[in-house]
Amino acid sequence: MESKIKIKVEGLCKVFFSEQNEKNTVFVNLNFKVYEEEFVSFIGPSGCGKTTLLNIIAGLEPYTEGKVLINGHPITKPGADRGMVFQEDAIFPWRKVIDNVEYGLEMRKIDKQERSLIAKKYLELVGLEEFANYYPKELSGGMRKRVAIAMVFANNPDTLLMDEPFGSLDYVTKVDLQEELSKIWQKERKTTLFVTHDLEEALFLSDRIFVFDKNNTIAEIIEVPFSRPRGEEVRNGQELLEQKKLLWRHFQ
């Protein structure tokens, strides 16, 4: 069965000029497809434009040449259909947790009662229902990341973009959140683009992995062979270790 194409990038070029007026080429002729309900990870060395690519698809950054299509339509600006979890902590510190989760719904003018119900549901999903009336300053980094995830999911975007969301967290919290994300994703399958440095993370979460090289091109696309749902056995299993070894060779 041929899956529908969700995101199509054709001949993407991105060039920008630095403060010193130097021409920096981020991409030259980048091409790929992402299918509906696919979880795709982008991995590769730092500075190879993965964040820029995600920002372009989010509509937050312009591109120089080429086509970036979602559902066949060109992407021109940001929107609620492409929810994004940033690497930095961007939840609103002046709003309580529950008001943060309700933000997207509030912008879409959904009435208070319905908003409240939806927000509570997603807070429960990330395990923070007790902290609904707290301010972000009272939460740890990992908890704030969970709030961000709840905010984005509560807004029910078509596509999920995640830019190293667990990058700044400690190992235990990271593993915890990976499993939570996996669980939520099992329930609400959204097309997801996930940027990470962590090979294990990419293997645990994704259907396919796009390996970028330092020239900002896709060196390899790997199909992840593990069946879903994936639990602890997969993370600690032999297969994952083998796949990691294979992946690691691409970085040599």
Binding site: P78, A80, G83, M84, F86, I91, W94, E106, Y135, M151
Partner: protein
């Protein structure tokens, strides 16, 4: 959780340090003439009676005690700062919204800011007369300029990550301004307002030096030729009291509640 409770030492320390200042003052005043440095005891005595009966006011100025003057000064202050601060915030937000307007107004604003506001006083007196209106106008003018610039700077320093996040959650420009920019600038705004509130007390007194009518500044001007130094100290004590109370009320009633979400 942070320990918010004030320890005994927290309350004792300021009391002890102020008492020490008074003690040193008293000692020094023993060696100087009352015109040079009156004793703190005399000052405090005159301060307490200043709202009942104060002969030097009827002799050198107008009225029988400080009351009409205190009222005049506080009235000019409160009306002046309210008009200045509120219009400053409104204009600042207005400029913040449109890049076009901002580019147009920013340079003249920066230039006006560097004009010592006191130099503007003669213009106010020329245009609005020497009475209360000009003095009030000066206070408003100072507050307005300072707060507009403060607001613009606050808007500029809002982290772009919040804008981006809001946009990916489906907010449109007007909503972003209302739900991200305005809450985000509150801490910086509050900081600027606090400073302006304090300095404006000085401004109103100085404006009264040059204007006419009633006011604490008028009293100081009246006392100087008669070398009534005690009276000048009493005026200063009143202004310090007013400024402290204003600051306290502002912090407790407005600033703290609005910035409760800030990590400290």
């Amino acid at each position: 959780m942070r320990n918010n409770k004030k320890t005994f030492l927290d309350i004792l320390a300021p009391v002890v340090s102020i008492a020490a200042v008074f003690l040193i003052w008293w000692v020094i005043s023993l060696f100087l003439s009352p015109v040079r440095l009156p004793s703190p005891i005399t000052v405090i005595q005159k301060w307490i009676t200043s709202i009942f009966y104060y002969p030097q006011v009827s002799l050198y100025a107008r009225g029988t005690n400080f009351n009409l003057h205190l009222l005049s000064t506080t009235r000019k202050y409160f009306i002046g700062v309210t008009i200045g601060i509120l219009s400053g915030i409104a204009f600042g937000l207005f400029l913040g919204w449109s890049k076009l307007l901002r580019d147009f107004f920013e340079s003249p604003l920066e230039i006006i800011r560097t004009i010592p506001s006191l130099a503007a006083l003669p213009f106010f007196i020329m245009w609005f007369g020497p009475r209360e209106l000009s003095q009030l106008g000066l206070v408003s003018f100072y507050c307005f300029i300072m707060i507009v610039i403060n607001t613009l700077n606050a808007i500029k320093s809002v982290g772009p990550k919040f804008f981006r996040f809001a946009l990916t959650l489906g907010a449109i420009r007007g909503q972003v301004y209302r739900t991200v920019v305005i809450p985000a600038i509150i801490p910086e705004l509050v900081g600027g307002i606090r400073v302006v509130l304090a300095v404006s007390w000085g401004f109103v007194v100085l404006a009264e030096f040059m204007g006419a009518g009633y006011g604490v500044g008028r009293l100081i001007i009246s006392f100087i030729p008669f070398l009534h130094t005690v009276g000048i100290f009493v005026c200063i004590f009143w202004v310090v009291l007013f400024a402290s109370v204003t600051d306290l009320l502002f912090m407790q009633l407005i600033a703290r509640p609005l910035t409760i979400w800030m990590p400290r």
